[in-house]
């Protein structure tokens, strides 16, 4: 069975390879937004050299890391599953001799691998060339990042799955999806690093599942999370991953039992 899921992931990866021009355009968009935010932050840091424990180099790395990771972790406007529910195609996926959730999970893992290589890396490299902020050199941080990034990607899949299966109950669920993604972007620290949040909001955000999507891997990458704090954050990431996965899987099985087929 594992071989089957690996094959699903590989197919999804290969399917992405076809959209070469779309990826290039997306890459340009990521670079453009990264550049705008960089200029804003550089201008802000004119007023003081260090804020919320960040200097301008940290914050530039952070911004470009967010741009590099966003397609891996929190794809904006991912409605693939929702659309199959609307069109009725979902029935053929539900009747495949495999688990419905792990099927989509494998597909998305394949896609994430593609975006890591063909979007994430080039985006960060472009930022390095444009603004010359380099990469952190601590090998322990890289090791921890290599553990945290896949967790973030899997957490993102569970969350996407969650706001997509809403379509089993509400037919036009795109608005829900847009709001869900924006909230996640905000609380994951994709707009502003969580360290800049007022302390009460930061305390709330730290306990939300979105913390593990962007903030935790990014903090690790920057070398700001070490020792005990690192273990606690990785633990929270794993906790939310398990909780969310179990949650959406049971929700999906409820939905599948009472599914009424649309389309025809």
């Amino acid at each position: 069975m594992l071989r089957f899921y690996l094959e699903v992931a590989r197919t999804a990866y290969r399917r992405q390879l076809i959209y070469r021009w779309a990826n290039l355009a997306g890459l340009l968009t990521n670079i453009f937004f990264g550049a705008i935010l960089s200029y804003v932050m550089i201008a802000l840091f004119h007023a003081r050299p260090v804020a919320a424990g960040y200097n301008v180099r940290d914050v530039l790395r952070y911004i470009w890391l967010v741009q590099a990771m966003v397609m891996i972790v929190l794809t904006f406007g991912w409605y693939d599953l929702m659309l199959t529910i609307r069109s009725g195609e979902v029935v053929s996926d539900l009747s495949k001799p495999c688990d419905f959730y792990w099927y989509w999970f494998s597909r998305e893992m394949g896609r994430s691998a593609y975006y890591l290589l063909f979007r994430g890396l080039p985006t960060y490299l472009a930022g390095m060339l444009l603004f010359g902020f380099g990469v952190p050199g601590e090998w322990k941080a890289w090791l921890a990042y290599a553990a945290s990034l896949p967790l973030a990607a899997m957490l993102g899949i569970a969350y996407r799955f969650l706001f997509n299966i809403v379509a089993f109950w509400i037919l036009e669920a795109r608005a829900v999806g847009t709001l869900a993604t924006t909230i996640a972007l905000f609380f994951s620290g994709s707009y502003v690093p969580l360290s800049f949040f007022p302390s009460w909001l930061h305390a709330i955000a730290a306990w939300l599942p979105f913390n593990g999507l962007m903030n935790v891997p990014a903090q690790i990458f920057l070398g700001k999370l070490v020792g005990g704090a690192l273990l606690i954050e990785l633990g929270r990431q794993v906790f939310w991953l398990v909780a969310l996965t179990i949650g959406v899987r049971s929700l999906a099985s409820v939905a599948a039992r009472r599914v009424i087929v649309q389309g025809g």
Binding site: A25, A43, T182, F186, F196
Partner: protein, 279 residues
Amino acid sequence: MRSYIQSMMSNLLLDLRLYRRLIAMQLRAQLQYKMNVFIDIATYLSVTGLEFVPVLIYFGSFPSLLGWKVGEVALLFAITSMSFGLAELFGAGIDGFDETIRRGEFDRVLLRPAGALLQVVSSDIRLRRLGRITEGLLIFVLALGLLPGFSWTPLKLLVLPLGIVSGALVFIAILLLGATLCFWTVETTEITNILTYGGRELLSYPLTIYNQGLQRFFLFLVPLAFGTYIPTCYLLGRPLPFGLPGALAFGAPLVALAFALIAGATWRFGVHRYQSTGS
């Protein structure tokens, strides 16, 4: 000559009447689902509102953005939002044009006895985009609250609506240029999104924080700054970059119109070159 102008004017009036009727039709159709429209607007308001919160958070840690205080940045952000919101509302038909091309429906548009551009523009109006305009209005009120020393003059009251409408016109002209590209590429290109969404993001902050190339681009090539940054500087009594005179704020409609006319001419060129697609 006189009769030519007369017939042109009467044609324009006919077009406007047709536009009003087609849009009224769209509105009636969308308002059949009042609850849906309301939820969509509220959602869009929350989404765009969350995009503004970072500005407030930044100013918790930093006193100013290259000399701009929080109220001043909020004012710029609000004006850009309202401009962009208007463009999204009225430019929806142009924005969705790639779909028309892909399905081969543009052939049908060309067969009808009305201008192609008029039909495309009046094919859609997205009420949910009122969410962004509402967001802009709310931030505008907030900005005025954060600017205690701000005072209105009759000229400022004139510059504000001129700027917002000019900005919207330039945004719509960019959408039209993007739609024209569809005649050749069939798909919408992400390049349009970089100029619209990216332009909105970029112009939400003072232009002078960017490098000179970007500043020149949005002043002289794609003159979005004429609808957003330049009027805001006029309202705040701030000097313009490159030694440009502040009175340029009154020229915004002319610049926007010139850019829109160029976009319109490109569109007509594209229509003549159109070869059908679809299956």
